[in-house]
Structure formats: structure tokens, C-alpha cells
């Protein structure tokens, strides 16, 4: 019974670990470069989920504040002139959201979501560069299998030495 509760309580983290290990295993085990990138994608996805999971606060609602807390409009009206005071208000807002209920409402933490948005962009960029490299490798060697590429290089070196 206890075990079941543990599994249910940590469901997301278990999925994260399974995805992470699956992705890493694909990268290591396959010689096909496209499959390698797919594995890398799965591996990175597990991290996205890790970050999204950690933003959840038990019983928390989506972090959208319906009414701006006191002082926020005032600080916003002053604009950049009093940047520090705006920041102070914002610090209070974030701490409120993360830990203590605001007007009796608990909010989830939005920061990990914002962070991982950057992570996703990085992942897309890496994938694009990787696929572009595979296109070039295919043009050069007529294969995207690591073994074939190595064999072609071995033959080329042998021919050069002969």
C-alpha cells in the first residue's frame, strides 16, 4: 500500500527517469545518426518534464494574478525611474506566489516553465544543427550509419597510403 502511494506521488519523476535512461540508451546503442538525435531528443524531453514538475505547488492554481497586489500599479506608473522599487515589489510577488497564499489562493511556481522554454529553444537549435550535419554526412559518404562512414574512411586512407 505504501509502495503504491509512493509510486503515485512520484509518478512524474518516475516517468522522467524512464525517459532519461531510454534516451541515453538510444544515443549509446545505435549507429544510425538520425536515431542518435532522436534519442538525444527523448533525453532532453525528460529534463523539460523534470523542470515542469518541480514548478507544481500542491493545491496551487495557475500563476495568474487576477488583481495586482498593492503597490504594483504605483511602481509600474513610475516606470524605470524607480527600477529598484519595481523590483522589490516583484520580489515580494514572487515570494508570495511560491510560498505563501496571496489573498488566500496558492499559486504554482511559473519560473521553471519560463526557464525550460529557453531549454526547448536550445534543444531545437541543437537538433537543427545536428540534422544539417547529417545531411552533409549523407552527401559525403552516402550513408548515415557510423559503421559505413568509418569503413569508407578506412578504405580512403588505405588507398592514399598505397
Amino acid at each position: 500500500m505504501n509502495g503504491m502511494q509512493f509510486l503515485a506521488g512520484h509518478f512524474n519523476y518516475i516517468v522522467v527517469i524512464i525517459l532519461m535512461m531510454t534516451g541515453l540508451y538510444i544515443v549509446i546503442s545505435t549507429g544510425n545518426m538520425v536515431k542518435k538525435l532522436t534519442g538525444l531528443g527523448v533525453f532532453q524531453t525528460s529534463v523539460f518534464q523534470l523542470y515542469i514538475t518541480m514548478g507544481k505547488v500542491t493545491g496551487g492554481r495557475p500563476p495568474i494574478v487576477a488583481h495586482a497586489p498593492e503597490g504594483a500599479e504605483h511602481a509600474a506608473a513610475n516606470g524605470g525611474e524607480h527600477g529598484a522599487s519595481t523590483a522589490d515589489t516583484a520580489v515580494r510577488m514572487v515570494h508570495d506566489m511560491a510560498d505563501v497564499p496571496v489573498n488566500g489562493v496558492i499559486y504554482s511556481n511559473p519560473i521553471p516553465h519560463v526557464l525550460i522554454l529557453t531549454g526547448i529553444v536550445v534543444g531545437v537549435a541543437t537538433l537543427a544543427v545536428g540534422l544539417a550535419l547529417i545531411v552533409r554526412i549523407r552527401e559525403t559518404y552516402d550513408s548515415i550509419e557510423e559503421e559505413d562512414v568509418e569503413e569508407a574512411e578506412y578504405k580512403a586512407r588505405k588507398a592514399a597510403n598505397a
Binding site: 526557464l115 531549454g119 536550445v122 541543437t126 544543427v129 550535419l133
Partner: protein, 518 residues
């Protein structure tokens, strides 16, 4: 009159640049990078990249007096106060690395023009310099920021640009594509491990500002989340800096990349990853804790010693000269890691000093190879035959840098190795001293092999076959000689007067180990 007026115009700009130098260091090359893509006419892209990198170097120099005077600079992005806002924090440690990276950016650009014209197709040069500027921006960003997630973003900006730069070596050597692809796979795994570690730290502390994390996790080094974060970050950054068993991507990537990229990467990329490792281990995590102590003694120190010996032996058996230098780089990273793993002020300072000196010597060695390849397409050690006669100045600079790598007195390499030995004896690590000596003897052999080919063999007859690279015009070839000789001279200069790097390294080590996050 006009002088005073001009001064009156310039002074406010200088003051403005002085206050906002921290973000300008990163923003300038980052924004200038994309513009370089459109400048593919002639040498315009090169001139643009050079101007931008000089400007960046000037911004770093503007930071220098402030840091030396106050100990550190904290710059709040958009005046948002940390821990909420992103903080750029510069102390002696970053300053040393910032100086190194931005100066190497300028030097490798000055040096690189004839090589790029030799190796890169004209239509691709704009993109090449764009990727170079982005790489520079990323490396400077990793170094300057005080925000843990920011480190990841900049690390990936520089890495993705590096994959592109390495793959551009395919015109000289088609294996560059595969080298770049393997680097991409390994680099992405490393970055992902790192970002998992940062995520776990955020779970444990609820903040991303490095100083703030350090404050929150202080005294919680037994916490399992913190320990897991430590492991993920060490392995992730270990992959990026080619720590011994995780180094397999490096030799191919450095050997197949265009010559200019080899010069720049060998002297900066792994150094910046090493800096990030030092920063996290000492500023963020608690260095005195038993868990970290065990990692130092049982993981990092043995890996460092293994790298010093195994990779030096591997270097001995390389035929390709750039691969030889790359293996020697991994061995030299072992020296720095050894200094770090001593966990004492003397050890860390010696490791950082060796980082600085190694950038000087490896930069000069890669420049020497690149310069020689302008005359006769150099790939293997054999191709250096008779260089002492055909290119005496290049050969002389190469020799100085090589001797510095071995650690001969009168060169900078001797200074940092001396401090490493002193620090090791202070901790009673006689086996580390033994490994240092064995590794240096191995270096004598692989450097000696190259010097012997250079001076004692007859130069080959230059044939106009397909394989030899076309000769570059004499003017640009002379341009390349300047940075090479400057680097070689620096290798000697920093033996006699090591006060700048030594002072910064000492101050950095004291700040890291003495007062925690201050």
C-alpha cells in the same frame, strides 16, 4: 581647443561604457554576429569581426581597474535586484578568464585571415565569422554571469556555434562533419547533465543566483538533492571541458576544425568550461564538506593523474600533428584539474595559473602549425620537415611554445608547474609530483619528435600537386606572424613577470576558499 572638445565628447561615452561594461562585453559580439552574415564581400566580414572583438577587449579592459580596486563588480540587469534579477558578477577569477578569452579572440582573428582565405570558401566567410562572434559571446557570457541558468544558455550558444565552426573544416578534411556530429552529441549530453544539476539546485534552494544558492545550501551538503546536483554538474561540465574519461570528442574536433578555429578553441573553450567547474565547485557548493572532499580525493585527483599520463602516452603515438597537440591539451587539463582537486588555496591558484599559461602555449603551438600549413599543407608531424630552414621565425616561436609546454625554465610553463609541485608537496601528494614528472618527460618526447623533424630533416621539395595548399600572399602571411611571435614572447615574458596572472589567480583562489561567496 579641439583636443579639449574631443575629450569632452569622449569622456561621457567612456564613463557610460565603464558603468555598463559588464553587459556590453557580451551584447556587443552577440548582436554583431548576425550582421557579419551579410558582409560576405572580400575581407569585410573579417574586418567587422576584428573591430568587434577589439571593442569587446576594450570593454574587458575597462572592467579591470574597477575589479582590482573593489575586489568585485556586481551589475544588475535592468536594475532588477537579485535573486530575482540576473546579476553579472566579476571578480579576479572571471577577470582572468575574460582577459584571456577576449585577447585570444583578437589574436586569433588577426592571425586567422590568411588561413581562412586558404581554407574557407569565399561565400561562406560571412557565416564563418558570424559563428565565431557568437562563440566568443557565449564563452564571455559563461564567464561573466552570476546566474546558474544563464551559464547553461551561454554554454549552449558557444557550443552550437562551435559545432558549426568545426564542421567548416570539411573543405580541408571531410571528416570534420563526423567530428562535429560526435562533438554535438557529446556536448549536448554534457549540457543536459548540467541543466539537470541546475534544476536540482533550484529544487533545493528556490533560486538561481549563484551567491544566493550558496547561501541556501550552506550546511546542507548531506542533502541528497544537493549531492545529486553536484554529481550532475561535475559530469556535465566534465564533458564540456574534456575531463579524462569524457574526452573522446576533443582530438577529432580540434584536429579537423579549420586552423584558426583550432587556435581559438584550444586556448579558450575548455578553459571556460574549467572555469565554470571551479565556480560551481567552490562558489556554489560548500568546498569543505566531507562529500566534496571525497570527490576530490577519489574521483578528480585520480582522473587528473590518469589524464596526465595516459593522454601524454597517446600523444606520443599520434601521426597527425593537430591530434597530437589535442591529446597533449587533455593531459594539460589534468594538471589544472590536479590543482583544483587539492582543494587548497595554493593548489587552486596553481591550477588557474596553469590554465592561463597553457592557453598561451597551446595557442602558440596551434598558430605555428597553422602558419606552417600556409606554406606546405601540414597535417602530419612529418610535414614539418626542415621548417627550421624554410620558416625560421615560425619554427623559433613553435620551439619556445613547445619548451614552455614541457616546462623548461625561462618559460611560463615552468612557473605554473613549479607552483603545482609546491602545492602538491604542501598536501603531501608525492604521487602527484611523480605523475607530474613522468608526464613532463613524456612531453619532452612528443615535443622533441616535432622539433627533431623541424631542425634535423631536410625540407621537402614543394611540388604543385593537389595536396599542397595554395601559397598565401606574403603580406597576409606576415600578418599571421605577428600574433604567433607575440604569443611566443608572452611565453617568455610571463616567466620573468608573472605578477598579473599570478596576482589574479591568488586573489581568486583566496576569494573562493577563504570568504565563501564574497
Amino acid at each position: 581647443m579641439t583636443m579639449a572638445m574631443a575629450l569632452g565628447m569622449i569622456m561621457p561615452i567612456l564613463t557610460w561604457a565603464g558603468t555598463h561594461a559588464p553587459p556590453l562585453v557580451v551584447v556587443t559580439p552577440l548582436l554583431a554576429g548576425p550582421i557579419a552574415v551579410f558582409l560576405h564581400k572580400g575581407r569585410l566580414a573579417w574586418a567587422w569581426a576584428l573591430a568587434i572583438s577589439i571593442l569587446t577587449f576594450v570593454f574587458v579592459l575597462l572592467l579591470m581597474p574597477q575589479v582590482i580596486q573593489n575586489g568585485h563588480i556586481a551589475y544588475y540587469m535592468g536594475t532588477w535586484v537579485p535573486p530575482l534579477g540576473i546579476e553579472y558578477r566579476i571578480d579576479s577569477l572571471n577577470l582572468l578568464i575574460l582577459l584571456l578569452v577576449s585577447a585570444m579572440g583578437v589574436l586569433s582573428l588577426v592571425f586567422g585571415l590568411p588561413l581562412v582565405e586558404n581554407e574557407i570558401e569565399e561565400s561562406k566567410r560571412g557565416q564563418f565569422f558570424a559563428a565565431f562572434l557568437l562563440c566568443l559571446a557565449g564563452l564571455l557570457g559563461v564567464t561573466i554571469t552570476g546566474d546558474a541558468f544563464n551559464v547553461f544558455v551561454f554554454l549552449e550558444i558557444s557550443s552550437i556555434a562551435t559545432y558549426v565552426l568545426v564542421s567548416m573544416g570539411a573543405e580541408r578534411d571531410r571528416r570534420a562533419y563526423v567530428a562535429a556530429f560526435n562533438y554535438l552529441v557529446m556536448g549536448t549530453i554534457g549540457a543536459t547533465f548540467f541543466v539537470i544539476g541546475v534544476g536540482l539546485l533550484y529544487m533545493a534552494s528556490g533560486t538561481l543566483n549563484m551567491a544566493d544558492i550558496a547561501m541556501h545550501i550552506h550546511g546542507h551538503s548531506d542533502n541528497r538533492v544537493v549531492r545529486a546536483a553536484f554529481a550532475f554538474i561535475v559530469i556535465g561540465l566534465g564533458l564540456k571541458m574534456a575531463m579524462f574519461p569524457l574526452h573522446t570528442w576533443l582530438p577529432s574536433a580540434y584536429a579537423r576544425a579549420p586552423s584558426m578555429v583550432g587556435v581559438f578553441l584550444a586556448s579558450t573553450a575548455t578553459k571556460v568550461a574549467f572555469y565554470a567547474m571551479v565556480r560551481f565547485i567552490f562558489s556554489v557548493f560548500t568546498p569543505g564538506s566531507p562529500f566534496e572532499g571525497a570527490v576530490f580525493d577519489l574521483v578528480l585527483a585520480p582522473m587528473a593523474v590518469a589524464a596526465m599520463i595516459i593522454c601524454s602516452v597517446q600523444a606520443l603515438y599520434q601521426i597527425n600533428i593537430r591530434r597530437l597537440l589535442a591529446y597533449s591539451s587533455i593531459a594539460q587539463l589534468g594538471y589544472m584539474l590536479l590543482g583544483l582537486s587539492m582543494g587548497s588555496i595554493a593548489g587552486v591558484a596553481a591550477g588557474l595559473l596553469h590554465l592561463f599559461n597553457h592557453a598561451l602555449m597551446k595557442g602558440a603551438l596551434f598558430m605555428g602549425v597553422g602558419k606552417a600549413s600556409l606554406r606546405q599543407g601540414v597535417t602530419n608531424v612529418q610535414d614539418l620537415r626542415g621548417l627550421g630552414k624554410t620558416m625560421p621565425l615560425t619554427a623559433a616561436s613553435f620551439t619556445v611554445a613547445g619548451l614552455s609546454l614541457i616546462g623548461v625554465p625561462l618559460t611560463a610553463g615552468f612557473v605554473s608547474k613549479y607552483y603545482l609541485v609546491v602545492a602538491a608537496l604542501e598536501r603531501g601528494w608525492w604521487w602527484a609530483v611523480a605523475a607530474l614528472i613522468v608526464s613532463s618527460v613524456l612531453a619532452i618526447f612528443y615535443i622533441g619528435k616535432m622539433l627533431e623533424t623541424m631542425y634535423l630533416h631536410e625540407p621537402p621539395k614543394i611540388t604543385k600537386s593537389k595536396k599542397t595548399a595554395p601559397q598565401a600572399p606574403a603580406k597576409t602571411s606576415l600578418l599571421a606572424l605577428g600574433p604567433l611571435m607575440l604569443m611566443a614572447a608572452a611565453n617568455i615574458y610571463f616567466f620573468f613577470d608573472a605578477s598579473l596572472p599570478k596576482g589574479l589567480a591568488d586573489a581568486a583562489a583566496k576569494a573562493l576558499l577563504g570568504g565563501g561567496a564574497s
